[in-house]
Amino acid sequence: MPQIITGKQAAMMLRDNDRIMVSGFLVSGCPEYLMECIVATDVKNLHLVGISTDYDDRGVGKLITAEKVKSLQVSHIGTNKTTQALYKSGKLDIEFVPQGILMERIRAAGAGLGGIFSPVGVGTDVAEGKETLEENGRKFILERPIRARVSFIKAKTADKLGNLVYSKMSRNSNPVMAMGSEITIVEVDEIVETGEIDPEKVVTPGIFVDYIVRKGE
């Protein structure tokens, strides 16, 4: 069962060199308030897992601009000039992961799998050094789980048991990131009473949520 805490309390859970996941796709579904709370702390040298680094001044990009991040596992940095500059100057380590495979690797961690055989990137740099499997003439490469210590995610509504509902396309990486870390902290627009969300509509069951932060609090 989750606890309701403040954004500051959430940010203070981080330690230097922590591995974190931050949800969202070009800001949609990103816990921006929590990003601001992290920027306000002294934490440094974070390892960040995310789909992209959003924009210089928006979304998870705020962590990059505030120089909180030393390494990344990410699928795309094209919308963030700071990320690109830091990468080119060698100040940021990046592992580029195909977007769907990033989701698979996080889900593998959250679902207790040892890895998956992926058809993506066979014959490209992504396949280098990875074990392969061949079946009916198709080649697959072994992709390992990606875990973190803390996931920061964003939902529209949580009930007090942590059941989550998202707004439209903002769910993107949220459901898998809710599973992939030891601790999951969700930023929400509103918290409703238990029982107010129809069991059919719950997208992320509360079992995956450890802490709830109401945006701005």
Partner: protein
């Protein structure tokens, strides 16, 4: 020809490959235009990998929703019958062969059907995004691109020298000069663009082209 006309021509030619009821994913940039060239009596459903099936056109100004965006971050709408899903299921859909066609921009393509569109070492590193998943899984993988670079050099090579997005994955290449099918035998020139001859295309193409008895025209 003006740039917009060129783009329209490429997109129209690609749209003509779609069938009624198809599911299609459009990459950012040039490919986005394919949606504007679907015949009005045909239903094509657009998938955006960030989590929608049934993406509709840009909303009117003031009606943008930050949680309704395409893969490039631009505002979209949802058509009646649309569905939202997370990225895990979105890419399961893509990799599992459920999407009929993906259309992607390209820096280079080659006669093996490989495509490079995610980085120029030391210069441009936007990252892979969803492109590698898309080329590995969609039933048809179409490259939409200009035939030559700004120095007039062919972007259709014998072998790509940029880091690959996909190895032997393309089914078709459509440029401002030609529509080319990728087959097990090699690149087959299907159509040339109005204003060009077969010879023009061969001359502008580094890759070997197979020229069938009849070559069509598109505009």
């Amino acid at each position: 020809m003006e740039k917009q006309n060129k783009r329209d021509m490429i997109c129209r030619r690609i749209a003509s490959e779609l069938k009624d009821g198809d599911y299609c994913n459009l990459g950012i940039g040039l490919p986005t235009g394919v949606a504007d060239h679907i015949p009005s009596d045909m239903r094509v459903y657009f998938q955006s990998e960030n989590g929608i099936l049934g993406a509709g056109p840009r909303p009117e100004s003031g009606m943008e929703d930050p949680d309704l965006i395409n893969a490039g971050g631009g505002p979209i709408t949802a058509i009646p019958g649309a569905s939202y899903f997370d990225s895990f299921w979105s890419f399961s859909m893509i990799r599992g062969g459920h999407v009929d066609m993906t259309v992607l921009g390209a820096l280079q393509v080659d006669q093996e059907g490989s495509i490079a569109n995610w980085m120029i070492p030391g210069k441009l590193v936007p990252g892979i995004g969803g492109a590698m998943d898309l080329v590995s899984g969609a039933r048809q993988v179409v490259a939409a691109m200009e035939h030559t670079d700004k120095y007039g050099k062919s972007k259709i090579l014998k072998k790509c020298n940029l880091p690959l997005t996909g190895h032997r994955v393309l089914t078709m290449i459509v440029t401002d000069m030609a529509a080319i099918k990728v087959t097990d035998e090699g690149l087959v020139l299907v159509d040339v663009a109005e204003g060009f001859t077969v010879e023009d295309v061969i001359k502008a193409t580094d890759a070997d082209l197979i020229i069938p008895d009849t070559v069509g025209l598109f505009n």
